[in-house]
Subunit: 415 residues, 2 copies
């Protein structure tokens, strides 16, 4: 199966935003055994979009995915252009209109008139509901080709792709070929070091390995394909098992794990609360934990102790420890963890201190050095980490490792 | 002047690497007044590349930039394809060959035979030397179009673009069409409400308006085009001025403003320090401020006071205030601001408290209600906000509004 992708949005051409969909869809389609032959990015111009779509229809791809331009504003014209090029009328879908109205009502608002256009689709379209925003997507058949139209915002596109679109595509791929994959998310290691660890295992397509690097995170995607579901699953299990053994100590999450959500559920189940003291992450751990609705039930509070003064005064880290061992040390991390547990009145105290860079590193304490401590009951655990990459990568890597440490503790795996 | 960009490389289609050139070249060309009309990404296939280049030559762009495929390996075929499509022979450039040989010699190696191909260029090409790697680029004229061919690695492409290419293009642009734009970044308002405010001003292309929605942020991009730079700038100024008046109270930043960086520079310049108390944003404001290297010079620390207990014990908000007015109130926000200033030992205290949702809202205090307070000298300022959208949008909107409030104060605009 051959695909081509069309990204719409003048902001992409002007470079106002980075096109991350090209990478995301490229990886996801490869895993499904769908070959991407061409990507086109076009602005929000009716004429240019029409021409691009006409040319795509004239090529040999079986699948055309179009992203963006499904919003309520006048420059959102994707469905209008698709309908015009395919010679189809736009039809109001009452069910979608109801959902859009409800979306606003649930948020205590009345739907603005401009959002009505988001309920119009080319005739014959299968509508893909949007559970996150107001813009539904659609699937259309035309001359033996499948057109899939998806909203532009990543937080809307990704769940829609991994839900309804993945189901729809897996049916179409190679006579119902089955694809299964597993994602390992790693931190504290560079992409090339991961590839080195697996270099004798890559090279073939099925089972296959693909990589995706984000700041502070390397994703290793293992996939297997075949005609029979049980065989594919066994192939994946065996191969993923071998990959996992090589990578184990760097894995912080798998597949769709959302660490802050898993930690929250475990805390709730155990009736425990947590407080967080942060130095190099500057509030990112608290921000991740409180991203979960209802987190006030277990998250008591956080202290961003960027100065020694705050570490001493609010967290009670003694000046002796700070002066003898330094702010970035096992001893300080442990004292911060104990201190924040008391300051927040929580059951668990999590603390991080490290050197995010670019400046501040020394030969003895290089950039990327981070200590993560967890005070739990009479015991305080501390781990030393070395995160590669830029400031953002060190900070994000620390957040991932710290949340994973709490999860492992709650699962009884690192006490 | 109109441009289109062709990115070559199967690794881009597979998502193995993120296409950052699209953003880089989009921004750089816009700044030069060159409008990018289309981007295409094509794999390392002779047939597909030929077709893409032929179609590009058939369109109206004045400038075609092609990246990648200039290496020494067999899948590096860009110059061969360009020569074939333009009907030009490939000619060995002795000067380039000498430089490539020297590149290896300087590194204590002998040039492998495969690198000879990097010294062949379509006849008539102006060669762009590569001072970082072995792959020179080239500029070619063809049927009133300019073709610019650049190496794929960013560390080779960027210096070549900013050196020889920028010089070459600035000569061509002079006398061509000029494009200018302004970006207004808004918070506390929905995308459709923004469009309603501007509905009598959109609809035309020049000057034009485009929208981009992110959680807690709507970007309004105003553009103007024309032959004479001074006239275009006046057209943009006049139009952007009218747009600004309509949107003023929601604007938190313009163009490339990075709020946390601007706030940091102002604090440094004035020799002031800041502490932050956060409730609904859960650490995001501290995380944004500490994203800037060197922020420890002015950021003293933050308190994420998710519980009333922490608001009282660490920030010194009295139980009378919390019980009489509630945790989400002007009075609590002000007391938190004063409290965190003392707790962090800072000159300024910034505090936010609000209802991010989805639960927790009431008729009197609906979801999206946020109070932001700034304690500065003898005065404490407090603003009430109503942010639309999901939890993430309320949280991000609050961060933007809070950082803007500090910036406005430091600029002497809201005391």
């Amino acid at each position: 199966m051959q695909a081509e992708l069309i990204f719409t949005g003048t902001e992409l051409l002007l470079g106002h935003i980075l096109n991350t969909h090209a990478q995301y869809l490229g990886v996801m389609l490869s895993i499904m055994g769908i070959e991407v032959g061409l990507n086109t990015t076009v602005g929000d111009s009716r004429e240019a979009m029409s021409r691009v779509l006409q040319q795509a229809l004239g090529r040999s791809s079986d699948l055309i995915i179009i992203t963006g331009g499904l919003g309520p504003t006048t420059d959102d014209i994707t469905f209008e252009v698709v309908a015009e090029v395919l010679g189809l009328p736009l039809i109001l879908d009452q069910e979608s209109l109801k959902k859009i109205k409800r979306f606003f009502l649930d948020r205590g608002a009345i739907m603005p008139e401009s959002n009505v256009k988001q309920a119009y689709f080319p005739r014959g379209a299968k509508i893909l509901p949007n559970n996150v925003g107001t813009a539904p997507g659609a699937v259309l058949g035309f001359n033996n080709k499948t057109l899939i139209i998806l909203p532009g915002p990543p937080n809307e596109l990704i769940p829609m792709f991994e839900g309804a679109v993945a189901t729809c595509l897996s049916k179409k791929v190679a006579g119902g070929e089955v694809i299964r994959y597993r994602i390992f998310k790693l931190t504290g290691i560079s992409e090339s070091a991961v590839q080195d660890l697996l270099k004798d295992m890559g090279g073939q397509d099925n089972p296959g390995i693909a990589y995706l690097a984000k700041p502070g995170e390397i994703q290793v995607r293992v996939s297997a394909r075949g005609a029979v579901s049980a065989q594919v699953e066994k192939l994946l299990e065996d191969f993923a098992g071998k990959v996992r053994i090589r990578l184990e100590k760097h894995i912080f999450a798998c597949d769709d794990d959302i660490l802050e959500d898993l930690v929250g559920k475990l805390l709730l189940a155990k009736g425990l609360t947590i407080g967080v003291a942060e130095s190099c992450t500057g509030g990112l751990i608290a921000a991740r934990l409180t991203d979960i609705p209802g987190s006030s039930a277990y998250f008591k509070g956080g202290i961003v102790s960027y100065s020694n003064e705050m570490k001493n005064r609010i967290l009670g880290v003694s000046m002796e420890i700070l002066n003898s061992y330094g702010a970035v040390s096992k001893e300080t991390a442990e004292a911060m963890a104990v201190g924040v547990r008391a300051a927040a009145g929580a059951d668990l105290g999590l603390a991080v201190t490290g050197i995010a860079g670019p400046a501040g590193g020394t030969a003895a304490k290089p950039r990327g050095l981070v200590y993560i401590a967890l005070a739990a009951g009479p015991i305080t655990i501390c781990r030393e980490h070395h995160f590669p990459g830029i400031r953002m990568a060190v900070r994000q890597g620390t957040v991932n490792a710290a949340l994973n440490m709490v999860r492992q503790y709650l699962l009884g795996k690192n006490s």
